[in-house]
């Protein structure tokens, strides 16, 4: 279908909207075959003017001007406005072309850099703003070209690409844990919590995560995220103030899945650390090691409270 024919179909529909105060049969009688005539006119380079004027001329020549209400019915006016608005949605095509290019840019950034940056979706290009901008411009140009071309048989391909864009954006919005967390934090929400009755009455509880087998630094992150306090413990030296990051948590108390109130502590058992002086509880590096190979973690709390 030619571009002129598409324009003619769109114009004929607008003319029908202008005639919407007539009966369906009258509209059909007046506009049957109109698309082909308008397309021919456009092929000749004619200016078809406005749909409103066109409809007025059509009515007058057909001897149906008397069918136009002198004072338009309010409902008819409303319906006509709605129909005009729905037809004018197609005028928003340029905005849609830019929007889909933006979505494609974000999806590309997510696919390329999400694992590397760990940023929430839609922030992947923060570290590469110029590259992101260039890609966006290229995709806008591509999108406009696709939008303006006569896609014909490629219509199904374009439709499929829109489905892919839509599904991809939806998965990023709701399927990425990091994005989900970002939305949670940015909206001021806390991690999910529950209030339980009985053993720990009327306190805000958090589920103890499984930190056993993790490095100290990883265990800290995971327990911080659960909004619980913790302390490190070794059977030989008791509570430790300083623990090397590369130490491993070998056990924990309470067990994973237990509910604790806010600020109650999780006891993390770390394996025997020969570098720690149990008396001073500070890191003692071997004489032949370099200072940079061992880093220490300052603990959040050292006191224990019972549930």
């Amino acid at each position: 279908m030619s571009t002129n024919m598409e324009t003619a179909i769109e114009f004929a529909n607008k003319v029908r909207v202008e005639l919407s105060h007539l009966t369906t049969e009258q509209i059909a009688d007046l506009t049957d075959g109109l698309e082909a005539d308008i397309a021919s006119s456009l092929d000749d380079g004619a200016d078809i003017g406005s749909a409103e004027k066109y409809a007025t001329d059509l009515l007058a020549a057909a001897g149906m001007s008397k069918d136009i209400d002198v004072v338009p019915n309010v409902v008819d006016v409303f319906i006509k406005k709605v129909l005009r608005w729905s037809l004018s949605i197609s005028d928003l095509a340029p905005a849609w072309w830019v929007f889909r290019a933006w979505v494609a840019t974000q999806l590309t950034g997510f696919a390329l850099f999400h694992e590397e940056t760990g940023s929430p979706a839609f922030y992947e290009w923060n570290n590469r703003p110029f590259l992101g901008f260039v890609l966006f411009v290229v995709l806008v140009v591509l999108s406009i070209c696709v939008g303006r071309m006569n896609i014909g048989k490629l219509k199904s391909v374009v439709l499929l690409s829109h489905v892919v864009l839509g599904v991809g954006a939806t998965l990023i919005m709701f399927g990425s844990p990091r994005t989900h967390d970002w939305f949670m934090y940015s909206s001021g929400s806390q991690f999910p919590t529950t209030t339980v009755q009985g053993f720990t009455p009327n306190c805000l509880t958090h589920e103890v995560p499984n930190a056993s087998g993790l490095l100290v630094r990883d265990a800290q992150v995971i327990i911080d995220s659960a909004q619980l306090d913790y302390f490190f413990f070794n059977p030989e030296y008791g509570t430790l103030n300083v623990v090397p990051q590369e130490s491993v948590v070998v056990n924990q108390d309470p067990a994973p899945g237990t509910l604790l109130c806010t600020n109650q502590q999780v006891k993390l058992w770390v394996e025997w650390i020969p570098h720690i002086d149990p008396l001073t509880k500070t890191t003692v590096l071997p004489e032949d090691s370099e200072a940079t190979t061992t880093t220490t973690v300052k603990l959040k709390a050292t006191t224990t409270t019972s549930p």
Binding site: I9, G33, A36, D37, A61
Partner: protein, 117 residues
């Protein structure tokens, strides 16, 4: 040739009065679709005739039985609606032509009388 200029309003009124006769005459030799009729009128000199006016006139002449209509399907898009003359239309052309000629003679007589004075 009838062109658009400062007097286009008068001319458009003139065209309105004889559009039925013009459209019927354009279809008297051969059937045609809407824009085809517009082309015939414009090539004959009615360059400023409005397309919608022609299409509306075709619908009205069809409704009054002066024209017949049939649809021709197209592989490339919407169908075309063709119009052709009916016997009633042919009779009407003859009557309208006589009226027009008589009307022109009257007007010419008036104009000549004014010029002579």
């Amino acid at each position: 040739m009838v062109n658009s200029n400062d007097e286009s309003l008068d001319r458009s009124q003139l065209v309105k009065g004889v559009l039925d006769l013009a459209v019927l005459s354009a279809l008297s030799q051969e059937d045609g679709y809407g824009y085809d009729v517009v082309r015939r009128l414009r090539s004959a000199g009615l360059v400023d005739v409005a397309e919608a006016s022609v299409y509306g006139t075709l619908r009205r002449l069809f409704a009054t039985g002066m024209l017949t209509s049939y649809v021709v399907a197209s592989d490339e898009g919407p169908h075309r609606k063709y119009y052709g003359m009916t016997p009633v239309g042919r009779d009407s052309i003859a009557a309208q032509r006589d009226q027009w000629v008589a009307f022109c003679e009257v007007i010419n007589t008036i104009i000549k009388t004014k010029e002579d004075n």
